[in-house]
C-alpha cells in the first residue's frame, strides 16, 4: 500500500533510525514500509499516525471506494 511515511518523516527531519527508535521497531521495518514492501500492522499504523499527528488515511493511501 502506498504511503506518505517518508514525506512525513523528512518533514520532521528524522532519519529512518530516529523514526524506528521513536516507534520501537527496526530500521528495516521503516525502510520496508516506506518502499511499499510491507504494510504495517494496525497498532503500528496507529502509532505512526499519532506520532505525526495525522489520521491513518492521511498516512496510508487506499484508492478503494465503497460501492453505492
Amino acid at each position: 500500500m502506498k504511503n506518505r511515511l517518508k514525506e512525513f518523516r523528512e518533514t520532521h527531519g528524522w532519519s529512518q533510525g530516529e523514526l524506528a527508535r521513536r516507534l520501537g521497531v527496526s530500521r528495516q521495518t521503516i525502510n520496508a514500509v516506506e518502499t511499499d514492501k510491507y504494510d504495517p500492522s494496525l497498532p503500528l499504523a496507529l502509532r505512526m499516525s499519532k506520532l505525526f499527528g495525522v489520521s491513518v488515511p492521511e498516512l496510508f493511501i487506499d484508492d478503494w471506494e465503497p460501492q453505492p
Partner: protein, 219 residues
C-alpha cells in the same frame, strides 16, 4: 534536531559491497565444500554415503550463515561490509536478535550434522548422537525464542510466512518423493534425506519470502 543527514538509504559503494557479498560467499562456499569433501574422502568421518554427505553440506550452510550473522552482530563495523544492512549502526540496533539468530543457526545446522554423523559406519554411536542432537536442539530452540523476543513485527511476519511456505514445500517435495516411491518411480528416501530436505526447505522458504518482499535488494 535534524538527523535526516544520517539516513543512509543510498549508501556509497553499493556495487563493491554486492561484489564482496557474492564473491565472498561463493569463495567461502566453494572452499568450505571442498574442505568438507576432502575431510569426508579421508575417511575421518567414517563411511557416510551420498545422503549423509549432502546433509553435511546443508548443515555447513547453516553454520556458515550463523557464523556470518553472529560475527556481524559482534563486529558491526566489519559486518556492515558484507551483510545487507544500511550501516554498522543498524547492526548495533539489531545485535541481540542477530546474535541469538546466529547461535540458533549454528546449533540448528549442528543438529543435522550430528544426525548425518550418527549410525552404522559413521563417527558417532547412536546414544552419543542422540545426546548431542538433543543438546543442540535445545540451544537452537532457546536461541530462536530469544531472537524472536528481540524481533519486531516485520521479522515476525517474515518468519510466519516462511513457516507457511515451508509447510507447502514440505508437502510438495517430501510428499512428492514419498508418493513417487510408492509408485515405484524413484527409490525410497532414507530418513536422513527427509531431514536434509526439511532443513534445506526452511532456508529456501525464508529466502523466497524475503525475495518476494523485495528484501534481498541491496540496501
Amino acid at each position: 534536531m535534524n538527523t535526516a543527514s544520517t539516513d543512509l538509504s543510498q549508501p556509497p559503494h553499493k556495487g563493491r559491497k554486492l561484489a564482496l557479498m557474492i564473491g565472498g560467499g561463493a569463495l567461502t562456499g566453494f572452499f568450505g565444500a571442498l574442505g568438507l569433501m576432502t575431510l569426508i574422502d579421508s575417511g575421518a568421518l567414517g563411511s557416510l554415503g551420498p545422503s549423509r554427505e549432502i546433509a553435511l553440506l546443508v548443515a555447513m550452510l547453516y553454520g556458515f550463515m550463523g557464523v556470518l550473522v553472529g560475527f556481524g552482530a559482534l563486529s558491526p563495523r566489519l559486518g556492515a561490509r558484507f551483510l545487507n544492512v544500511q550501516d554498522a549502526e543498524e547492526l548495533r540496533e539489531m545485535k541481540q536478535s542477530l546474535l541469538a539468530s546466529g547461535i540458533g543457526s549454528v546449533a540448528f545446522g549442528g543438529v543435522l550434522a550430528v544426525l548425518a554423523l550418527t549410525g552404522p559406519g559413521a563417527l558417532l554411536a547412536p546414544m552419543a548422537g542422540a545426546v548431542a542432537a538433543g543438546v543442540l536442539l535445545v540451544i537452537a530452540t532457546l536461541a530462536s525464542v530469544r531472537s524472536m523476543k528481540h524481533s519486531d513485527e516485520l521479522m515476525r511476519t517474515v518468519s510466519r510466512q516462511a513457516g507457511s511456505t515451508a509447510f507447502y514445500l514440505v508437502l510438495l517435495f517430501i510428499g512428492g518423493w514419498a508418493a513417487f516411491s510408492i509408485f515405484g518411480f524413484v527409490p525410497q528416501p532414507q530418513m536422513i534425506d527427509i531431514l536434509t530436505l526439511i532443513w534445506a526447505i526452511l532456508i529456501i522458504a525464508t529466502f523466497s519470502v524475503c525475495a518476494k518482499r523485495g528484501m534481498l535488494g541491496m540496501r
